[in-house]
């Protein structure tokens, strides 16, 4: 590829934190007494609480094909390897042609929802990204990525869970610090205090007669008071959250800027997250999943399965961008997948499990408007891993570490990503 293409940016400004206030409402939380005295090597953030972003983490489950999400139309091997499922070049004359980003990469039409944020330099795309461990198992690869470290049986918590556990609460009185929009807690969040899976925050209730609900909740409070962890904490947090969400009435939430979230599980999930963030209850992290990326057959990037999944993905994020991020709520959103897919399509019109994919970072504090690569090697067969896959040249932890440190104001990177020595690539402002 072109030598002048945007390469790694060793920018020095990464230490510079934006000082936007969380609507001026978040008081500086005291961290005194939160950490035991004996704990070594704890660096208290200089700017905790008032000046840190909320993290919305999106996992694209199934191994999203980065070469369709953000195709490198400037690489001839893209077209020779993808004889039936390539996105036409931006200078093609068909309606399905790609949207030029930087004369090398493009977005498919299904991802057009990402364009406003990209143009406003709030959306960063990192290509050739992924993990060093080369597992092609969905479940191992997802687990490693969510844990934040591969193959360590002693580490059972998730990276975002450890982030929450290693900073003082955004609001000292907050009852719910993290939420997974899911029926069960995603690995990413495991270990986070005051964090629950809530599939639908607009309808979180214990039902029954309203008149007896306080009494029934009191029964549950007493019954679970003697439960063992994690049930004890989860149940008591759940009771608090039932009371909290009942008082908020999220069902009537109206997004700003006339943003329209798709009526899909992903769209509804981001809408609920937006509502929770704006209610200022102390939410610090949210984990949202979008599946449907395991495109072994009939991939359909121009019309069909992946077209629909990408449309859902990009339109939901576009709504969240218009609703939350352009209105200056301090939020960073990231989206990533466990691996990408083979460069060469298979006989089923699909692609099998590969290595590098693309990841996305969105926020006012993200140095966006570009496709960031590092040592990009391209798709020529001789440069592929095992002759079949785009090599991983950016470790996802480099991107996340910089965001955790600079946007989430958490200096404890060696706790969030144990043993990883990040290379800061200048992804934050």
């Amino acid at each position: 590829m072109d030598e002048n293409h945007e390469a790694d940016c060793g920018c020095a400004e990464y230490n510079e934190l934006s000082r936007r206030q969380f609507l001026g409402r978040a008081a500086g939380a005291s961290a005194v007494a939160f950490f035991p005295d004996w704990l070594p090597k704890i660096v208290m953030s200089k700017s905790f609480a008032a000046n840190r972003d909320i993290m919305v983490s999106v996992f694209m489950r199934g191994g999203a094909d980065g070469l369709t999400l953000v195709p490198p139309f400037g690489d001839p091997a893209y077209y020779t390897s993808r004889s039936t499922i390539a996105i036409p070049r931006p200078d093609a004359t068909v309606a399905t042609k790609g949207i030029n980003l930087d004369n090398f990469f493009m977005l498919p039409q299904a991802m057009s929802g990402m364009v406003p944020a990209f143009t406003a330099t709030d959306l960063l795309i990192v290509h050739g990204s992924g993990q060093t461990n080369n597992s092609r198992s969905h479940f191992d690869a997802q687990n490693y990525m969510e844990v934040g470290k591969p193959v360590d049986p002693s580490l059972s918590t998730g990276w975002l869970g450890r982030h929450v556990a290693s900073i003082p609460p955004l609001k000292p009185t907050g009852l719910l610090r993290g939420v997974g929009i899911a029926n069960g807690l995603q690995k990413t969040l495991v270990g986070a205090p005051k964090t629950l899976p809530i599939a639908d925050p607009t309808n979180y209730t214990v039902g029954g007669a309203a008149a007896t609900q306080p009494q029934r909740l009191a029964f549950l409070q007493a019954d679970y008071a003697t439960a063992q962890e994690p049930m004890h904490a989860d149940a008591l947090d759940a009771i608090n959250t039932v009371n909290l969400l009942r008082s908020l009435n999220l069902a009537t939430y109206r997004p700003a800027n006339n943003a329209v979230y798709p009526n899909t599980s992903f769209g509804r999930a981001l809408r609920s997250v937006a509502a929770l963030i704006k209610q200022d209850v102390g939410i610090e992290v949210a984990q949202v999943d979008i599946g449907g990326w395991d495109t072994h057959s009939a991939q359909g990037p121009l019309t069909g399965g992946m077209f629909n999944t990408m449309t859902d993905f990009s339109n939901s994020i576009a709504a969240f961008y218009a609703d939350v991020i352009t209105t200056d709520y301090p939020v960073t959103l990231i989206a990533m997948s466990e691996f990408g897919r083979n460069v060469r399509e298979n006989a089923s019109g699909g692609t099998d499990h590969g290595r590098a994919s693309a990841m996305f970072a969105l926020g006012k504090g993200i140095k966006g408007g570009r496709v960031l690569t590092k040592n990009w090697v391209g798709l020529a067969k001789e440069n592929l891993e095992q002759g079949q896959d785009l090599k991983v040249t950016v470790d996802y932890r480099d991107i996340l570490s910089e965001i955790v440190q600079n946007r989430l104001a958490n200096p404890n990177l060696d706790f969030v990503f144990p043993t990883w020595k990040p290379t800061m690539l200048g992804v934050t402002r």
Binding site: P40, Y224, Q228, P230, A347, H353
Partner: protein, 532 residues
Amino acid sequence: MPMTSEHRAVSEQERPELEPDDRDPDAKEEGDHRSRRSFLFFGALAAATVLPKQARAQGRVRQRAVLEPQPDQQFATARVTENIAAFREWDASGVTRLVRRVTNGIIPGEITKATDLGWNGYLNYQLNYSRINDDACEQVISSMWPLMSQTSDTLFAANAEQVRNQLRESTLFRASFSKRQLYQRMVEFWTDHFNMDVDKVQYLIVADQRDVIRKHALGNFQDLLKASAHSAAMMAYLDQNTSRNTAPNQNYAREIMELHTLGVDGGYTQTDVAELSRVLTGWTIQGRGQFTFNPNIHDSGAKTVLGMSIPGTSGSDGILEGEKAIDMLVNHPSTAKFIAKKMLKWLLTPEPTDTQINAVAAAYRATKGDIKTMIRVILNESWLNAAPMKLKRPFHFLASALRSLAPTVASITTVNNQLAALGHVQFAWDTPDGYPDKVEYWAGNIVPKWNTASSIANLNSSTTVLVDTSAYRAAGTTAAAIDMIDQNFFGGEMPLVTRNGLLNYAGTTALNESRTRELLALAMSSNAFQWY
């Protein structure tokens, strides 16, 4: 774990003194000096110099944990453990733990049965399921959900929504009301093991459930795996039906090794995946959902899978390559261990020991995967009575609620619909690993269970589900009513905290209808009812 410069040993002054209580009692005997040195060598990463008490307490149980760094323990992370000790009220010498573990909900009739037969007698009774007369249940199935006995040739033309609803409702009904309870537990286990998403495979799943999962759930693993590999639904779910010799699809080839047999650490490589995908070319579907082998799309070149040479075969004999490869997978030692460990986790404990895994794997190898033999090894009295509790997944929770409520069921639709909010709709997990079976995943999902408990306790319709509360109200006193709840919902082992809570909630006035239903809802919402 590799020692990196990040994880250098920290200097003495950085390390606080250990308090006496924090020391490993085993290490004390060897002297503090020795203890400190080994601690430095193995565990002294910069981030986790001193493990908090909790980590060290765990370390005493699992010896490696003391020496291994536990970086997730140094901050106040939410406690993460799958090992939850059973309630002290649960008898550790009788049969109640066995009844809880092999059923979808402990009820008085099963306790009586198990008490009569004894531990091994009751286990054999449940294992020899075909001898249990289940006509009452099956008659309801055939009259309410007639599509379940149809073949794919008929089902393809049926209303797709009806097909999936009938499958889901009949599955919940069987799980709740079949007398063959251990069999239903294993049907659920293998359904997850050979998971598929009905959205993708549509009506084909009915034949898979009937002719693969239910046929072999307590049979032989080799037969089960072979049946699955010849299931049109599995071919469709993992894209095997679209694979071609020109560029084979690797989906099924990968998952049959990773998820169905060897396990992800079972010793195969990406090359083995690619080679097996070549072997399996031609395994596909014809007509309305019949498995077939199509030699025209089979790669007839030579292959090597897991070190085994497979000479290329053309023509209809090309299928034998795949049969040979699957036999090899069945006989692979990794498969014996993988299936043993997974069954142990389902039936016994979230963290089986090597001894347990080896014992069950040996039973697998000795019998080519006889499932009953393996279960006999797993569910022995001493192992199970010492095992931690397991958390009911939402489907299990719902089935156990139905068993304990013992309602009159005219239609189970409204109850089955609860599974959507509970997050456990059957045949809807879209990835091939199946629904998780982990405390870590499900523990936070408690509010939907409370909500469901409240909903179903209030069902009082002769056209759907009728929960009759008259017996509780006729008990005489609230204490007597709560004793009945104890028998029907807790196997007579209701924890004191729950009993006191219910007594307090019931108050002193006579129980009316609505208060009785609230008591039932609270009983099902209580902590003790979530475990088995």
